[in-house]
Every structure is written in structure tokens, then in C-alpha cells.
């Protein structure tokens, strides 16, 4: 059974209890009412960067891998700063604090997500439409710059390797050729097809094999040089299909985001109101009902209701003398029982 005092506390303090339940959702609604935001996005076609063997060993798609790479880059301050500078958010020679703030804005605004197995989405949400578009462009441009740099670095390593290998192979070939020429000079009959000179044949075989090695290295070097020149390696895996454009209209907040804060506010308001009600109930040790008088050892004779005039708010607000405070009313009632003036000799009439 619900204690009467608890119910009494609820109805006596309902305006205070109702306040957080009403105010906090409103505050939540005001928090949701964020500034207008614009979204600009680009779609990028990506192919697999890994070899077939590596692809088979992983469940990730090309877009997921690229998204991870780009997200990792966005986690670095240097990349975000470059993006901010490229987008015109901050000057390159700005103070360190401004650069950091701009980099933070880029990190907060830009999101990368895979849209399909080979499709990557790069999105920027800011309060300025042009800024959002420039931010996405800057991200793509900076990413491509880094890809080019990485490609050049890797190509340089490969070219250097092939060139060194080719030089060594050619040196060996020259030595073998000199050795063969010297042998032919000392053994003129060795080149005669009618005779069979085993040493000559072995030496000639070595020269041919070395010649093949040199030819293959040469071919590889040329192919690498061609790839470097044509740019047909990494860059070919990152092609912007839909370039970012300037958004014409701001974003429309979703229903979930609209209701989340008010709902949270309502919940908090209910919790606060319940806590306040419980505290008031527990802190109230005054006598209000027969429950509070139980066990005192004296019977409850009854309850005298508070005597007060009917509520006439306007009259009370005007504080007219005929409407006394209710505290005085009971006494007034008692006094009105004996309104008779005193008679001489101690008698009242």
C-alpha cells in the first residue's frame, strides 16, 4: 500500500516535481538545435592494392583497406594540417595553435567510409558549404600526393635494384666474353664445328646464360621505368568518380538525433523528480496522518481541517483586508464566537 504521506508529498510538491520533467527535455531540445551544417562528399573508385595471394588471405575489400589507410592518415596531425592548409582553412605560416585548431576541425569534419567493395566515400560536414567541398577536395588531393610520393619512392627502390643487378650482370658477361675470346685466340680450332671442344662449349654456354640474365634484367628495368613514367601503379587504384560539389542545402537532422536529447532530458528529469520526491518524503518527519501517530500510545481523536476562505485568487492578489491569511482564520473563527463587548462588572454580553 502506498503511504499517504508519499502521495501527499507528491501532490503538494508537484510543481517542483514537474519542473525538471519539463525543463530538461526542453534543454535537450535546445542542445539538439545545433547550427546549420552542410555536407559535401566524393566517391572514389579503388582497386585492390594487394597481390592476389594477399587478397585471398584477407576478408577485407579494397575499399575497406583504402578506408583504413585514409583514416590512419587522417589520424595524423601532419596530414590534417596539410589538408587544412590546402583547403584554405588556415595559412601555412599561421601560429601553431591555429594550425592545430584547423587540423582538429579537419579531423572532426572528415569521415571516410567504404560504400561498396571498390567504392570509397569521403565526406566532410561543416558549417560552411564551400568549406566542406574544399575540405573533401583537399583530402583527396593530399592523399593522391602521398600516393605519388610513395609510388615514386617504391619505383626508385626497384629501379635502383634493377640497375645494380644489371650492372653486375653486365660486368660478369663482359668477363665471360673476354674469357671466351681469349680461349678462342689460344685454341683457333675450337670454333670449328667439325671439332668438339668441351671447354669451349662450356664457356660459350655460360656466356649465353649470362646474356639471357642481362636481357631479362634490362627488360625488367625498362618495364619499371615505363610504369614510373606512365604512373600506372598505385595511382591507378584511386580514381575519383564523383568529385565533391558545393552543397546547395544544409543537412536535415534525423528524427533519432532530434529525439535523443529530449528523451535523455525526460529520463533525467524523471530521475531527478523521483529522487527529490523520495528525499522530501524521507526527510518529512512531521505528523500528517494517523500512520505517523501509530505506536505513540495515545489515540488519535481526529483531524481538524484547516479553516480557510474559498480561494479567490484575484482578491487575494489584491490583498484586500477581508481576505486574511489562512493562519489567522481559525483564530478569527474562534473569536467570532464571542463578539460581544465586555459589560461593566466583568460580564460579557
Amino acid at each position: 500500500m502506498i503511504p499517504r504521506k508519499l502521495v501527499e508529498t507528491f501532490f503538494r510538491r508537484w510543481p517542483v516535481l514537474l519542473a525538471p520533467v519539463l525543463i530538461l527535455p526542453v534543454v535537450g531540445s535546445l542542445l539538439v538545435d545545433t547550427p546549420v551544417e552542410y555536407e559535401s562528399s566524393a566517391r572514389v573508385w579503388v582497386s585492390d592494392l594487394q597481390t592476389q595471394e594477399q587478397s585471398n588471405s584477407s576478408d577485407q575489400t579494397a575499399s575497406e583497406r583504402q578506408a583504413e589507410v585514409l583514416s590512419d592518415l587522417l589520424a595524423t596531425t601532419a596530414f590534417r594540417t596539410d589538408v587544412a592548409v590546402a583547403a584554405g582553412l588556415v595559412a601555412v605560416d599561421a601560429a601553431a595553435a591555429d594550425l592545430d585548431h584547423a587540423a582538429w576541425r579537419v579531423g572532426r569534419a572528415v569521415r571516410v567510409s567504404p560504400l561498396g567493395p571498390s567504392l570509397l566515400g569521403v565526406t566532410a560536414v561543416t558549417s560552411n558549404a564551400t568549406e566542406a567541398q574544399k575540405m573533401v577536395e583537399a583530402v583527396l588531393a593530399q592523399y593522391q600526393l602521398r600516393l605519388e610520393a610513395e609510388t615514386d619512392r617504391q619505383a626508385g627502390v626497384v629501379l635502383d635494384y634493377f640497375q645494380k643487378q644489371l650492372a653486375a650482370a653486365q660486368s660478369d658477361l663482359s668477363k665471360l666474353q673476354a674469357e671466351l675470346a681469349s680461349y678462342v685466340k689460344t685454341h683457333p680450332t675450337a670454333t670449328d664445328p667439325a671439332t668438339v671442344d668441351a671447354d669451349y662449349l662450356a664457356l660459350k654456354s655460360k656466356v649465353d646464360a649470362q646474356t639471357n640474365v642481362v636481357d631479362r634484367l634490362n627488360a625488367s628495368l625498362q618495364a619499371t621505368q615505363l610504369e614510373t613514367i606512365s604512373g600506372s601503379t598505385e595511382l591507378s587504384t584511386f580514381v575519383v568518380q564523383d568529385a565533391p560539389d558545393v552543397p546547395a542545402a544544409p543537412l536535415t537532422p534525423s528524427l533519432t538525433s532530434k529525439l535523443a536529447y529530449p528523451a535523455a532530458g525526460l529520463f533525467l528529469g524523471l530521475v531527478a523528480a523521483t529522487a527529490y520526491l523520495y528525499i522530501c518524503y524521507r526527510a518529512d518527519h512531521t505528523v500528517r496522518s494517523s500512520e505517523d501517530l501509530r505506536g505513540l500510545g495515545a489515540p488519535v481523536l481526529g483531524f481538524v481541517p484547516e479553516l480557510r476562505p474559498r480561494k479567490r485568487l484575484v482578491m487575494r492578489a489584491l490583498r484586500l483586508p477581508s481576505f486574511r491569511r489562512r493562519d489567522d482564520y481559525a483564530r478569527g473563527v474562534a473569536t467570532s464566537l464571542t463578539p460581544m463587548p465586555e459589560r461593566a462588572g466583568g460580564e460579557l454580553r
Binding site: 500500500m1 502506498i2 499517504r4 502521495v7 501527499e8 501532490f11 503538494r12 508537484w14 518527519h285 512531521t286 505528523v287 500528517r288 496522518s289 494517523s290 505517523d292 501517530l293 501509530r294 505513540l296 500510545g297 495515545a298 489515540p299 488519535v300 481523536l301 481526529g302 483531524f303 481538524v304 481541517p305 484547516e306 479553516l307 481559525a330 483564530r331 478569527g332 473563527v333 474562534a334 473569536t335 467570532s336 464566537l337 464571542t338 463578539p339 460581544m340 465586555e342 459589560r343 466583568g346 460580564e347 460579557l348 454580553r349
Partner: protein, 274 residues
């Protein structure tokens, strides 16, 4: 002109409604019964009356008997104020100031006089505040302390209404020590004298937690009503009051200025009881 006609009709109706609620008369009626009748009534009413004492739990017969006008009671052979076998001194006290003991004393005395037609003497035994004298405009008039000091005879301190059988004795103007007067044998004599003049003597006692005279004065009464102010008096204060009055005959507790914010339909739905 009857006594009821000089009263303000709305005020009197409100007061009567209050008196119906407090059921003070139940305590008085029981107090006036011969021992056998009292036991009989206790058996009829049962333990519920002692625990709750509210109108709802009282059996209809007992309730009727307690509320009956003297004439009707006589017709039914029921006890009434006029049929009382001995006069009574009823003290009214409370835990603190402003709980409504003076108001209840006035209401009780007036109701006894008007409704039962009993001769009632209302005495201001709260020497320090003299609130009763203020209510009746008797400040500066001779009263109980002057009688106890021997400066005036008792009849000179009794202020009498012509149209109702109600007498009022103010606290008085004497500067004698209130504690000494409360403990004096003269006070017992004065009370006995007033009881011999009236069917009821209602004493407005000091607040029990504010004056050490309250328990002493309460012991001089045949019964004491403790007034608690709803939403103001704490249970701990009431316990202290009842402890102080352990040697007195406490008739019960009246919760004064009771007000509720609970709508009636909520009370019905949740089955809330007072």
C-alpha cells in the same frame, strides 16, 4: 435570541464541522461514564477506537451517542453532558507555539456550551503568553494568577457570557512565579471550585515543550488533549510531549490544521486513509 444566533453563521458551521472531525466529544463522553458503562462502550467500540479514533471506524451507535444533543440523548436514555455524574477539567496542550491549542480550547468550550448546553468555564492557564486573554480582549484584566495570589476572589475573575453558558477566566496580571503557582495547592482548589460551578472546565495549558509548567498543570486535569499541527509538529516532538505528560491522563491527539493536496479521486483509487 439563542446563542447560535449571535454567531457568525459560516464560521459556526465551519467550527461545527471541525468539531465533528476531531471527535473530542468521544473522549469526554467516555470520561464521564461510570466505570461499567465505559468498559461496555470500550467493548462495543473495540480496539479500533483507541488506535484510530476517527469517525469512520466508530460504530454507528457509539458515534450517535457521542454526538447526540442533550434532549435527544435523554429521550434515548443515553449519557449526555447534562446527565453527567461529575464535572470535568479538560486541559489542552501542544508541543509548541502556534499549533492551535488556544483555538481548539475556544472551539471545544464554545461547542460544549452551544451544542450540549453545558455550563463551561474556559481558563487561560498559559500564564506566559496569555493568548486566551488576547482573543477575548481581556488583557490587563484580573484573572487566574490574581486569584492564586489572593488579590481578587475567584468570582471577580470570571467573565461570563449572558447568552451562552460560557465563562472565561483570563490568565491575570500577577507577577508571581508561574511555576510556583502551577504547583500550588491553591490551583487545585480553584479548579475544584470552577468544576463545582461548571460541568466542564477547559484549561488552555502552556505548550508542553516550551514550559515546564505544562506537565504539572496537566496532572491537575481529569484529561488532556494534545494538539499537533499537521505538517509542523514532528513525531519526535509528540513523543517528547507524551513522555512529559506520562503522569497525566492523555485523552488523545488532535491533528490540527489538517490539509491535503490529494484529490478525492486519488484517495478513492489508492484507497488512502487518514
Amino acid at each position: 435570541m439563542s446563542a447560535a444566533m449571535v454567531m457568525e453563521p459560516r464560521s459556526r458551521a465551519a467550527l461545527q464541522e471541525a468539531m465533528r472531525e476531531i471527535q473530542v466529544m468521544s473522549g469526554l463522553t467516555l470520561l464521564r461514564q461510570p466505570r461499567a458503562a465505559l468498559e461496555e462502550l470500550d467493548m462495543a467500540v473495540g480496539a479500533e477506537r483507541l488506535q484510530a479514533g476517527t469517525q469512520e471506524v466508530l460504530p454507528g451507535g457509539a458515534l450517535l451517542r457521542m454526538r447526540m444533543r442533550p434532549q435527544a440523548a435523554a429521550q434515548h436514555g443515553r449519557p449526555s453532558a447534562q446527565a453527567a455524574t461529575r464535572p470535568l477539567a479538560i486541559g489542552v496542550t501542544s508541543a509548541g507555539f502556534g499549533d492551535g491549542k488556544t483555538t481548539l480550547s475556544i472551539a471545544l468550550a464554545s461547542s460544549l456550551a452551544a451544542d450540549l448546553g453545558a455550563q463551561v468555564t474556559l481558563v487561560d492557564a498559559d500564564f506566559s503568553t496569555q493568548s486566551l486573554a488576547r482573543e477575548y480582549g481581556l488583557e490587563g484584566k484580573k484573572g487566574l494568577t490574581d486569584v492564586l495570589a489572593g488579590s481578587v476572589p475567584l468570582p471577580a475573575a470570571v467573565h461570563r457570557f449572558l447568552r451562552t453558558p460560557l465563562n472565561v477566566v483570563a490568565a491575570g496580571t500577577s507577577d508571581e512565579d508561574a511555576g510556583r503557582m502551577a504547583r500550588s495547592n491553591e490551583l487545585s482548589g480553584v479548579i475544584d471550585h470552577l468544576k463545582s460551578l461548571s460541568g466542564f472546565v477547559v484549561l488552555d495549558l502552556p505548550a508542553a515543550l516550551e514550559s515546564m509548567n505544562a506537565p504539572v498543570l496537566a496532572q491537575r486535569c481529569d484529561g488532556v488533549i494534545v494538539v499537533a499541527r499537521a505538517g509542523h509538529t514532528t513525531r519526535a516532538e509528540l513523543e517528547r510531549v507524551l513522555t512529559l505528560l506520562r503522569d497525566a491522563h492523555v485523552l488523545g491527539v488532535v491533528v490540527n490544521r489538517d490539509k491535503t493536496s490529494i484529490p478525492r479521486w486519488v484517495e478513492r483509487v489508492l484507497d488512502l486513509r487518514h
